[in-house]
């Protein structure tokens, strides 16, 4: 899977290692940059980013399905790169910018991937959908004209039990061809 989780975490921990004093286990105030806004919340150091988004920040579009980086349902962007938000602690995010499914559309205008998912019926129950949408949108950010294998590779860490993969691939390829608005 093209997922930068481990690299990002290593990097974040490297940044943090300079500050030596221990914190926790009680909740501490942290600041996150989410969908372009600065949000302050109380988080126990053990709280993952996925939990912080879904709990104190009420951004429940990000889903937890396996909670150990195996299914990618919790995918968000960290500085534009798709990561599993269940695999990074909220406290380790630092100043990096987080984009969640709620922040992908511009106002009422859906991202082309979101629009294509609706048109191609690339979802059924919809539980894995926010994560897959984030990964496919990230693919289009870095690859202007992906082919079907590029999409497969991009989403290969995602599980969809409803079996939407064929329509996800078709939708993403269509979104790549959609006129940029």
């Amino acid at each position: 899977m093209i997922n930068a989780t481990s690299a990002i975490i290593a990097q974040a921990q490297g940044v943090e290692s300079g500050s030596a004093s221990a914190i926790g286990p009680q909740a501490v105030p942290i600041t996150l940059n989410v969908n372009g806004a600065t949000r302050t919340l109380q988080a126990e150091p053990r709280m993952t980013l996925a939990e912080a988004l879904r709990g104190p920040l009420s951004l429940t579009g990000t889903k937890i399905a396996c909670n150990r980086g195996a299914c990618s349902a919790c995918t968000v962007w960290l500085d534009g790169l798709p990561i599993c938000s269940c695999m990074i602690l909220a406290i380790d995010v630092g100043a990096r910018s987080i984009t969640t499914i709620e922040g992908l559309a511009e106002g009422d205008t859906l991202h082309p991937v979101q629009q294509a998912f609706i048109e191609h019926d690339a979802l059924q129950c919809g539980y894995c959908t926010p994560g897959i949408v984030m990964t496919c949108a990230a693919l289009l950010e870095r690859t202007a004209e992906p082919n079907a294998d590029d999409v497969r590779a991009a989403i290969s860490g995602h599980f969809c039990r409803c079996g939407t993969y064929p329509h996800v691939i078709a939708a993403t390829l269509a979104a790549a061809k959609a006129p940029k608005g």
Partner: protein, 779 residues
């Protein structure tokens, strides 16, 4: 029986659209709408309209149970048995109750009651805690002191069948006796050791049938335990209040859960409300209240606060249901021309501590054969309970039968499709075989193992059989409001198939509106009771009353429009947002204009599912079986690397039928899902229990292997329109039939590729190499 004057005769389209439609007369209730023309003549039904909740799902706005958060809500966790078989001697929750943040504790197993003290699988609930956070509840679990007495156990079916095996249940009285999966079977069957049953079924004289046969083939087939792996775990938010109980639950059947809760907690039905806005998959495993549902409600009752209980992935894998594993022995006798003379089936299956591990009715009913004997046994083992999973019984059963039929074809030197043409009485599947064979280019199929190189290709086919189920008490309300907007209400829930969308299409067709102009509110027991989303019955059950209710409302609206247009209501029709005069369509008024003339702020009608117009084959409690079965034929093209043992499915062609297709794109999506779940079953998935500890060694999503995007083949889906004139919409289900034929089609294709038949799944690389004699067979 309705009185004569309450009935009228209507002429319906009949037959398979691509073959040619005829007409059939049906006597129908007088207050139901006229016969619906075939899809080619309709504006909204039969069109691939986008799903209603698509926007909410791609933006993350839709609310799943896991997203429900109530003021003061607590979080629950369950302590589960660490032993495969144990007697609880004592439990002490005092320290847990004192833990900061804990608001309620609930002992589940009790030393005072021998039944409750018996813990028969790893993961069986022992106690539960509700606390202000999930973490606090989890911490409290560690403070519960339990004294277990370990008992002998067995987690492997063949071992459990032996006379000396440790008994999972001490006596027949305490073992499950009925059939939990919802399909009819005798209850209180004999229990010998760990073996319950058999459920027997027979017709004709099998002994004579085999004596008359020119050839007899015999095969043994094994299927593994498959887990549902819903992406949204099982979960509930229970809110017990003095004036009633509200639960938000990821459930396939709001109405059923409401009844279970009322009974379980001694509440009147009008004090119980069940809500599910969206559910993240179920596949059969979210059909009932479940032990976790009871636990959360009881914790909420004790804590006097809302309680959220979401299972984690490990709990999902151990105690949230599974598709039982099976062993099947099939014997088929036939004349030289292929005519079947006898089929005998013996099966043993295991649903862990539960029942329901049969292999369905394919062998009994798929092919014409005068003589049949079936004996299906359940074997108890110390493992989490199985439950219904996408075509329970028939999916493992077809894996056996459809390979045995191929083995017979080879012995008779008849092409597998030609043999099926001879012995399959279904005209629908006949057409499906013809279409599928053309698409997959069946004529290029070669002799088994004929490819020369190390990568060998093959083609295979298999068929499915499923019941066309109908839920009798399925109701729907349709409202037209004074501004011309439309609401459709039912407690039916959308499991992810697009139930709300097909309801919107059905109502839009009646009113001459677009589907996106219809607001559908479902998934709430405040609305008229809808059907469950299992047994492939939601569409068949809820779209007819949706159309009937809309049609009744339309009659009122036409009366208003008739006054405005100075025309008789029966001379008017609705189309394109207008109500028009039939003989002079230039005259008309807008739909909203007609609604504005209403004397009341809204008009409304509630309709319930009537019987199929041709009657039912059988009634089973609150459900019934239509006369015609659902079918479907699937073809698979595979490539087997004989050096690595890796099987790649390159292409699947699925030709399916579901009566009248209402939304072809959503149907295609469901068929994709059925195929991928079947492919995953054939090649990857396996719940592996360690025989020495009874523990599942892969209770997650990384070691429990699921097919992913890289394993997804090219898939062609062809949907037949098969009209029978049986209801106001003539629509039936698709979810389960689409899952049945995939694994045997792949198995037959693998045989065709390598010339060696694997008689068990999953067909892992190791299993393929062992079958080829390249590595030793594992026991």
């Amino acid at each position: 029986m309705a009185k004569q004057e309450d009935l009228r005769t209507e002429t319906f389209p009949s037959g398979i659209a691509c073959v040619g439609l005829g007409k059939i007369e049906r006597v129908i209730p007088a207050d139901e709408p006229p016969a619906l023309p075939p899809n080619s003549e309709l504006a909204v039904i039969g069109k691939p309209v986008p799903r209603q909740d698509g926007r909410a799902k791609v933006t993350g706005a839709v609310r799943f149970t896991a997203d429900v958060s109530l003021p003061g809500m607590l979080h629950a966790r369950i302590l589960r048995s660490p032993m495969p078989h144990a007697l609880l001697r004592s439990i002490d929750m005092a320290a847990a109750a004192r833990h900061p943040g804990v608001r309620a504790v609930l002992p589940i197993a009790s030393a005072d009651d021998p039944q409750s003290a018996s813990l028969r699988y790893i993961g069986a609930p022992v106690a539960a805690v509700a606390a202000v956070s999930r973490a606090a509840a989890q911490e409290a679990l560690h403070l519960i002191h339990v004294d277990y007495q370990s008992l002998p156990f067995v987690v492997e079916m063949d071992g459990a069948r032996k006379q000396a095996a440790p008994p999972v249940y001490e006596s027949a009285e305490v073992a499950p006796g009925g059939h939990p999966s919802g399909y009819p079977a005798p209850i209180n069957l004999p229990l010998k050791g760990n073996v319950r049953g058999p459920v027997v079924s027979s017709r004709g004289d099998v002994t004579r049938g085999f004596a008359e046969a020119d050839v007899v083939v015999e095969g043994e087939y094994r299927t593994q335990v498959q887990t549902h792996c819903c992406l949204e775990p099982h979960g509930i938010v229970a809110d017990w209040r003095a004036d009633g109980l509200t639960v938000y639950m990821s459930t396939q059947y709001t109405t059923g859960v409401r009844h279970e809760l009322a009974e379980e907690f001694g509440l009147p039905l009008n004090r119980v409300r069940v809500i599910v806005d969206a559910m993240g998959g179920g596949f059969g495993s979210k059909s009932t209240l479940g032990n976790y549902g009871r636990i959360a409600v009881e914790l909420s009752r004790r804590a006097r606060a809302p309680v959220r209980l979401m299972l984690d992935r490990e709990e999902e894998q151990m105690d949230a249901g599974n598709r039982p594993g099976t062993w099947q022995q099939l014997r088929i006798g036939a004349k030289r021309d292929g005519a079947l003379t006898a089929i005998s089936l013996i099966s043993y299956g295991t649903a862990g501590v539960a029942l329901g591990a049969g292999v369905g009715f394919n062998a009994e009913a798929l092919y014409a054969c005068p003589n049949f004997d079936g004996a299906q046994h359940d074997v108890f083992i110390n493992a989490g309970p199985g439950c219904a999973m996408r075509a329970p019984g028939n999916t493992p059963g077809a894996y056996g039968l459809e390979q045995a039929i191929d083995e017979l074809a080879e012995r008779l030197a008849i092409d597998p499709l030609v043999l099926r043409d001879r012995v399959d009485p279904s005209p629908v599947r006949h057409e499906e075989r013809r279409i599928g064979a053309e698409r997959i280019e069946w004529q290029r199929r070669h002799a088994p193992g004929a490819d020369r190189g190390p990568v060998k290709r093959g083609l295979g086919v298999a068929q499915s059989l499923w019941m066309a189920n109908v839920q009798l008490d399925s109701s729907c309300e349709v409202r037209v409001l004074r501004d011309g907007s439309v609401e459709v209400l039912s407690s039916v829930q959308d499991i992810g198939t697009g139930t709300g969308t097909v309801m919107a299409q059905t109502v839009a067709e009646v009113f001459g509106l677009r589907a996106d102009e219809i607001t559908v509110r479902i998934g709430d027991t405040e609305f008229p009771p809808g059907p469950p989303s299992y047994g492939s019955r939601a569409t068949a059950s809820i779209t007819p009353p949706a159309r009937t209710a809309a049609w009744r409302v339309l009659q009122s609206l036409l009366r208003e429009a008739g006054l405005a247009l100075n025309a008789a209501p029966e001379d008017l029709f609705a189309r394109g947002g207008k109500i028009l005069v039939r003989d002079d369509p230039s005259r008309g008024i807008g739909f909203a204009e007609a609604a504005a003339r209403l004397r009341t702020d809204r008009i409304s009608a509630v309709a319930s599912r009537s019987d199929d117009y041709s009657g039912f084959r059988r009634r089973m409690g609150d459900a019934a079986l239509a006369h015609q079965d659902l079918g479907g034929v699937q073809f698979a093209a595979v490539a087997v690397d004989t050096e690595t043992g890796i099987v790649r499915v390159e292409r699947v062609v699925a030709v399916q039928d579901c009566g009248r297709p209402i939304n072809p794109r959503q149907i295609e999506s469901q068929v994709h899902g059925g195929i991928l779940m079947g492919l995953s079953y054939a090649l990857f998935e396996d719940r592996i229990l360690d025989q020495h500890t009874g523990r599942m060694v892969n209770p997650d999503l990384e070691h429990y292997k699921l097919a992913g995007p890289h394993e997804t083949p090219a898939i062609d889906v062809v949907i037949l329109e098969n009209y029978q004139g049986n209801s106001a919409t003539d629509a039936y289900g698709i979810a389960e039939p689409a899952n049945i034929a995939t694994a045997p089609a792949i198995a037959n294709a693998v045989y065709n590729a390598i010339g060696v038949r694997l008689r068990s799944i999953p067909m892992t690389p190791a299993a393929v190499l062992a079958a080829l004699g390249k590595i030793p067979q594992r026991s």
